[in-house]
């Protein structure tokens, strides 16, 4: 029984969790931004004349939803990651102020990319 437990301890030491590289997280977040851009492009390329037919309204509406969702998710992900990287707790007011500043900054970056 003890041997089995020892072996499981060894297994746990061998199969340690692997930290994802920073390049991967950056790339993943960029891909979310690209999703936003794709959704925006889809809207831009949609001819207004097509919109006279109500049957065509669903597609651009979906593009807005997907784009908006990706952008919002990205903002939250980036802001949280930044907070995690700061080791010293700044206190409630400092954290709130920092969070507001970060959200505004990320929203601004996403909006600039969408132009």
């Amino acid at each position: 029984m003890t041997e089995a437990v020892d072996f499981e301890i060894l297994l746990r030491r061998a199969l340690v969790p692997i930290e994802p590289p920073d390049e991967l997280t950056q790339r993943l977040e960029d891909t979310l931004v690209e999703l936003t851009e794709l959704a925006a492009d889809e809207l831009e390329s949609w001819e207004l004349s097509t919109m006279r037919d109500p049957r065509n309204w669903m597609r651009p509406a979906a593009a807005v939803v997907v784009g908006g969702a990706a952008a919002a998710a990205l903002v939250v992900v980036r802001v949280r990651r930044r907070h995690e990287r700061r080791h010293s707790p700044p206190g409630v007011f400092g954290l709130a102020e920092r969070a507001l500043r970060d959200v505004a900054e990320e929203a601004r970056r996403v909006a600039l990319r969408d132009r």
């Binding site: 072996f7 060894l10 030491r13 199969l15 994802p20 590289p21 390049e23 939803v65 992900v77 949280r80």
Partner: protein, 199 residues
């Protein structure tokens, strides 16, 4: 409309949380499945993109249960496609993740390095389902129920699977040790039968 917007915002928040909490899990799973960083990164990226596409439905159908098994199942399916498309198995020369990443002092590093490397090599030789179960249990810290959901099995079958996987791996590692002690000593025994009455 306002309700729909609020629900969407909530979903975004939940997806962000899922991503933040389980990025390491997905990457670890992918790494131990494919055996190298490059393919593990691709697999992780594809997993989260697919998860993002189906997140709303998964949230609805999960009825409040944790979504980690669902996420790992996506990675599992993608990994299966990865091997099918490229007709290959995990790379044997895994970059000794545990040996490199685990915090060891100098003495234990020297003593344990070989053993951990043998364990990693043994894991790579296990049948797919056993290898996956061990990765989920030990690298990701998932319990039997979570593993069962990720693998689409019953709790009981999963428990048996993990038990057999450990026994088989233990046999393999012992086999490697025997081989090292007597290089001309002949064939290795089958892991399962060797260790069946071991403890």
């Amino acid at each position: 409309m306002a309700d729909a917007t609020r629900t969407k915002a909530q979903l975004d928040e939940e997806f962000s949380e899922l991503y933040r909490r389980h990025l390491r899990d997905v990457f670890s799973y992918a790494y131990y499945r494919v055996g190298n960083h490059h393919d593990a990164e691709d697999l992780t990226e594809q997993t989260f993109l697919q998860a993002y596409r189906h997140f709303e439905r998964a949230t609805r159908e999960s009825e409040g249960r944790p979504l980690r098994p669902w996420l790992i199942r996506i990675a599992h399916n993608l990994a299966a496609n990865f091997y099918r498309d490229r007709s290959r198995r995990p790379e044997a020369a895994m970059e000794d993740a545990g040996v490199i990443s685990a915090p060891h002092d100098t003495e234990s590093l020297v003593e344990g390095r070989d053993e951990l490397a043998r364990i990693l090599a043994g894991v790579q030789e296990l049948p797919d389902d056993r290898r996956e179960a061990l990765i989920m249990r030990f690298a990701l810290g998932m319990d039997n129920r979570e593993i069962a959901r990720a693998m689409g099995r019953s709790d009981g079958a999963t428990k048996v699977l993990i038990h057999r996987a450990i026994r088989q791996l233990e046999g393999k590692v012992e086999g490697y040790g025997d081989q090292r002690r007597s290089p001309k000593g002949g064939a290795l025994g089958d892991g399962v039968t060797r260790s069946a009455g071991g403890s």
